[in-house]
Amino acid sequence: MIEAVLFWGLAAAAVASALGVVALQNPVGSVMALLAAMLATAGLYALMGAVVVALFQLIVYIGAVLVLFLFVVMLLDLKASAAPARAAASGAAGVGITAAAGWAAWVAASHAPPAGSPRPAPGVFELAFDLFGRHLLVFELTSVLLLAAAVGAIFISRTGKRRSS
């Protein structure tokens, strides 16, 4: 009972805040609505028992990605200039894509196996074993990639002449 209430509450919050992302005029408001949508999704994950995924959703998307969004939006200092650009065509495209996604979700849901006892969602231990066992190389290579990206970002964003050497 309490699960059903939580689920419908979180689902409604997710949909409402997702609508807010596209409907709000103020870009900062849009980002805050996205934050609410992410939080509600994290709650849904937790409700499914996928605690690790919920945690990552909090740490990665809300902790890092959204803060970055917020920085960019505030740095760009967007006025309400985007409003007239929202033409009917892009609205129609949005409705169309949403309808297609909804249809796909409906098909997926109707073909889903009957609710039984699902496999237990992997926890931190299983994830850690996988990450440092089977995927050790991939895990380590990611850090090489990030190092290369950081070097590149610093190189390209350095302004002006270097100090005279």
Binding site: G133, R134, H135, L137, L141, A148, S165
Partner: protein, 477 residues
Amino acid sequence: MAFSIPDVNLASLLPEIVLLAAAAGVLLFDGRAGRRRAAAVAAAAVASSLATIPFLFRGAGMTGFSGLIVKDDVTLVFLALMDLAALGAIVLASGGAADAEEGGELYGLTLFALIGMHLMAASRDLLVLFLGMETLALPLYILVGSRRASRDGMEAAVKYFLLGSFASALFLLGLALYYGATGTAGLGALSQTPARPSLAFAGLALVTAGVGFKIAAVPFHMWAPDAYEGAPVPVAAYISVAPKVAAFAVLLRLGLSLPGPDPGFWTQAVLAMSAASMIVGNLAALRQSGFVRMLAYSGVAQAGYMLIGLAALPARGGEALVFYLLVYLFMNLGAFAAAAALERREGGRLQIEDLSGLASRRPLFAFALAVFMVSLAGLPPTGGFFAKFTLFKAGIDAGQLPVVLVAVVMTVVSLFYYLRVVAVLYMRDGAERPEIRPAAPLLACFIGAAAVLTLLAGVLPGEFIREILAAFAPAAL
């Protein structure tokens, strides 16, 4: 759940670790003297990676990380080719313009890209492959835009970045579909018929498209002319050769993993890409007046020729492809080195017309450039002729006659633009052209060595092919 420690065998990645240490180390160098030291360190790291290859060659090969990294003889040949290309790019860059503002970062990024390519060639897993591809791509985007004062360079870098990101997204989507179809990201799953064949093939098609971007095959070639022209010439030289070697290593691995010799869907796609690249690349190259832009379209066409090797796969296609890549390495790096030597003096973009009468003033230089052009066109007695010959022969033996006919016709078309350069060099009077200073000694040596090797590959092709054949012998069995 028991924790199984993977069979790491870190020695299998020793060259890459050395390269990584050097890549991080050269970032510490600064200023003009530092730049020279950075070039030396980077060249030493690449040379040490190159030096390990003869010891491993014809050995048992190296396996690491429970089979995620496999360095067999075929892989080692590809690694040697890309190390040579990186060495060439470092030599070209070390004679860079004196007012360049960058320190050791250029060499660091070059080495990062080389690490990515090593991983691409040595991995048997799409996930590792993807990370290798990104480790290759990100430094290259930056390198293309490394002359930040130039608007063209920045524009080229942004174009390259956007199209490259799109290609990476395609690859990633393909990886997801492949994983969904086979339950693994390893390429070994290709040898059996997957449970959901259409899904697996859709994934494979997207993966091939993502890799096809790296070789600039039509229809994924849009970035090449702008990126080559906007980039500093040493970077353009690097991009034109090294990622092609890595991407062909991947495509060869894909092709060899596919079951059976039957010309299936993948071969058809490769054939279509090959024919389109040859036609579009050669016809577009005809109309170019800029030297580097002409080389860019020529590179698209050359990728088309090389794809024939993949279409001839279970048979001799692999050897022919590797031999072609080897000769391509010499002749293309040589042509770009010549462009680098000239561009520095003339300022601005090098036009083909600027080469007028070069033969009477700098006969050796003009001769080397003519050798590269004749070899790219595929005329004897240069390596380019034998490379094309073995490739076309492999194609005919595999029953891919139509695409070989397209290749022959397009080779004739390509004679016009390659030999136009030679004609301008030798038959045009360039008295009004500015005086040309001699090239830097290192650059001159490099151009000379590339020209000699291009000629040697044409005079003694057997010596070059034998080692490649030996590498492929176990794979063919």
